[in-house]
């Protein structure tokens, strides 16, 4: 009897947890769907760098930080999905530099954009991340040596990165981070639907579902 009582209580608590979880996730999905409909600006701002065709019907919005390891790990994966579905997916990058000092790397990246080398720079930053951002110990001075590889003028970057326009972009993105309740990087939204359980397979599924919806066979 005692064992049954304690055992049943455990089962009940686990069930309550699971039920609460799915209820909350359902509510969130509804909320974000509503926001995506009413306020698409929250997900894609005019200043946001985008990659892929303008005719794409699936918008993959990624809240990221160039110094975030998981963002770097996801980059090749996203490239692969986009290559497998040419013209159907558009990647939108938003900034979420949560840690102190992380915004400096966003500034470097945005300054590189002024030289028309945005995606090349992001690529090299991700590839050399373990050198300049190992274990959350950020050393911008270690990044400079890699940037000339993509043809960047370092002196110009150092000057441009303090442009108030860049600070404004970060400010706007961080405000949207708050509204959309993005807590971790990378944070993904596919046509406004949030990635609720984090992982490669889950993201793939979310994108695939939206592709099937937008491009019925």
């Amino acid at each position: 009897m005692k064992y049954v009582l304690v055992g049943l209580t455990c089962v009940l608590l686990v069930l309550a947890f699971i039920a609460g979880n799915s209820y909350y996730k359902g509510q969130q999905a509804e909320k974000y769907g509503f926001m995506a409909e009413k306020n698409a600006e929250l997900f894609v701002r005019d200043h946001s760098p985008t990659y892929g065709s303008d005719d794409a019907k699936v918008y993959l919005v990624e809240f990221m930080d160039p110094a975030c390891e998981t963002c770097a790990a996801f980059a090749p994966f996203i490239k692969k999905i986009m290559a497998a579905n040419p013209g159907k997916i558009k990647l939108v990058l938003r900034y979420a530099p949560f840690h102190d000092g992380a915004d400096n790397f966003v500034k470097i990246l945005e300054a590189a954009r002024m030289q028309g080398k945005y995606w090349e720079t992001l690529d090299i930053m991700f590839k050399t991340q373990n050198v300049w951002a190992s274990h959350h110990h950020w050393q911008p001075e270690k990044l400079w040596q890699f940037l000339p590889q993509v043809g960047l003028d370092i002196e110009r970057i150092k000057k441009d990165m303090n442009d108030p326009a860049i600070a404004k972009i970060i400010e706007q993105d961080m405000a949207d981070v708050k509204t959309l309740n993005v807590q971790k990087t990378p944070g993904y939204f596919v046509n406004g639907k949030p990635l609720q359980n984090f992982g490669y397979k889950q993201l793939y599924q979310l994108i695939q579902d939206e592709l099937n919806l937008q491009y019925p066979q």
């Binding site: 064992y3 009582l5 304690v6 608590l13 947890f17 609460g20 979880n21 909350y24 996730k25 971790k184």
Partner: protein
């Protein structure tokens, strides 16, 4: 001896209620961090260190019959958790100024998450749970000594 039998049953029930309290609290705490994705701050972690093991310690005291030595093992944890929660509640309410708090990196201990009925915060819930548990254990201590 029906008298002692009855007393033993009451002791078991009281301890069971205590176990229920810590199990529900643990579930809610895990729910906050894994479903609602509230990041636990340093003080929250200290309270969790006191709370989580109690699920197993109190359960061990329930079987096969009520074992009074469970009080000896559970009381220090619940008092430590309760004191931390008390400090956290004061900090959160702004009664202790924030500049002397131990957590500066990561999540602030005064970060507002939920406030039930407009005033019940997470640290307060924790304090309520720990103090109820301390009371329960003290009652059991009196009943068994």
């Amino acid at each position: 001896m029906p008298q002692t039998d009855h007393a033993a049953k009451t002791n078991w029930t009281l301890l069971f209620l205590g176990w229920l309290l810590v199990s529900v609290s643990t579930t809610i705490s895990l729910f906050f961090s894994y479903v609602l994705e509230y990041e636990p701050c340093v003080l929250c972690w200290y309270q969790r260190i006191c709370l989580f093991p109690m699920v197993f310690i109190l359960a061990a005291g329930l079987f096969p019959v009520f074992d009074k030595s469970v009080i000896k093992y559970a009381l220090p944890l619940s008092i430590a958790g309760g004191l931390t929660a008390f400090y956290h509640t004061l900090l959160y309410a702004g009664i202790i100024p924030e500049n002397i708090q131990p957590c500066s990196k990561g999540v602030s201990c005064t970060e507002k998450y939920i406030e039930l009925f407009g005033f019940i915060s997470i640290p307060m819930l924790s304090f309520l749970a720990f103090s109820t548990l301390v009371a329960l254990l003290l009652i059991l201590k009196r009943r068994t000594s």
